[in-house]
Symmetry: C2
Amino acid sequence: MSATMDAHIAPVELPKAYRLLNHGPTVLVSSRHDGVDDVMSAAWACALDFAPPKVTVVIDKATRTRGLVEGSGHFVLQVPTFAQLQLTYDVGNLSLADAPDKLARCGVSTFEAPGFDVPLVEGCSAWLVCKVLPEPHNQQAYDLFIGEVVGAWADTRVFRNGHWEFESAGPAFRSLHYIAGGTFYAIGDQALARTE
Amino acid sequence: MSATMDAHIAPVELPKAYRLLNHGPTVLVSSRHDGVDDVMSAAWACALDFAPPKVTVVIDKATRTRGLVEGSGHFVLQVPTFAQLQLTYDVGNLSLADAPDKLARCGVSTFEAPGFDVPLVEGCSAWLVCKVLPEPHNQQAYDLFIGEVVGAWADTRVFRNGHWEFESAGPAFRSLHYIAGGTFYAIGDQALARTE
C-alpha cells in the first residue's frame, strides 16, 4: 500500500504550516503503531501556534486511532480534497476494530515521507506530521491531543509559495468542511480585506 | 451601543450548537468585564464536545480580550458573515489598548441576549455564549481556553432546524475562513456523502 512521494508534493516551511489548517478544513488523522495503520476523519482539529507550529485534535477513546496515537506518540493531519468526499465520510464511519480491511474498503492508499514512519494518505492536498506533546489531563478529560508539527508538505497544484490556490487548482482540489449527517461544504472563493 | 435581539435570531438547542462551528469558520470573540467590552477575531477556535457542548479558542496574552475573559469567566464565539469581511479583519488588527474607540472605528455594534451579561456582535450569523472551564496550565502554556456553551443562537435566514442554509441565504451570509495577510475564503457549496 505504500508508495513514494508524488512529484507534485513539496515541503512546506514549518512557520507557514498553520496556513494549511487555518481555514478550518475537516482533516484525516492517520497513525501507525506496532504494524497497524489507521485513518479517521476529524472536524475538530485546529492550529494552536505558529512557531514551532502546534495543533490540537480531538480523538475519541472509542477509536482505534486513539491507541495508535498514544502508543506511537505521533499522528498525521492531512487535508482531504473534494475528490475524497466519500472517503472522508467513510473513514469516519467505519472502525478498524469492526473491519480489519477498513482502509482498502474505504479506498485509502498511503505513502511515506522520507524519515517519518507514519502513513500519509494519497490524494490529499496537505500533510502535517505531528509529535504528541503529552498532556495526560487534556487527553483523559477532553480527548484533546496537542501535537507539534515536525514535517509539512503540500500538493503544489493547490498550495504553493505559502498560499492556497483553490481557484486555479479546480473544483476537485477544494477542501471539505463537515457539518453532520453526511453534509459537507466545499471551501469557496477568495476574498481580500484591505490591510492598510 | 446595545440593542434588543433581532427578530431573525432564534435559540439553537445546545446539543446542536457544535454545528455552528463544525465547518471551521473564523469567529469573533467578544467579552465584557468591569464595564469594558472588546471584540477580536480568531481563526483558532474549534468544537470540543457535543453535550454538554464545549469549545476551544486560542487567546493570546497580548490581547485586551485575554484579561476580560480571565476576569469575567465568559466569552462569546460568533460567526461573522461575508458582509463583515472588513470588520472581521479590522478587529483582529487593532487593539483596544491602542484605540479605546476600537469597536466604533471597526463598525461593531453589540446587543445582549436575555439573561447573559455579554456583548453579542450585531450582523453575525450565529452566537455561542461560553463559560470558561478553568484550565490554568492550558491557558498559561498554550493560550488555550476551554469553554462550555451555555447559550446559542442563530440567524434563521442562514441556520434553521439545526442546519446551515448557505445556498438559499445568499452570498452576504457565507461564513469566512481566514488564511493570512488579509486573505479569506468564503464557504462554498454543499456536498452530500452517501450515508447508507
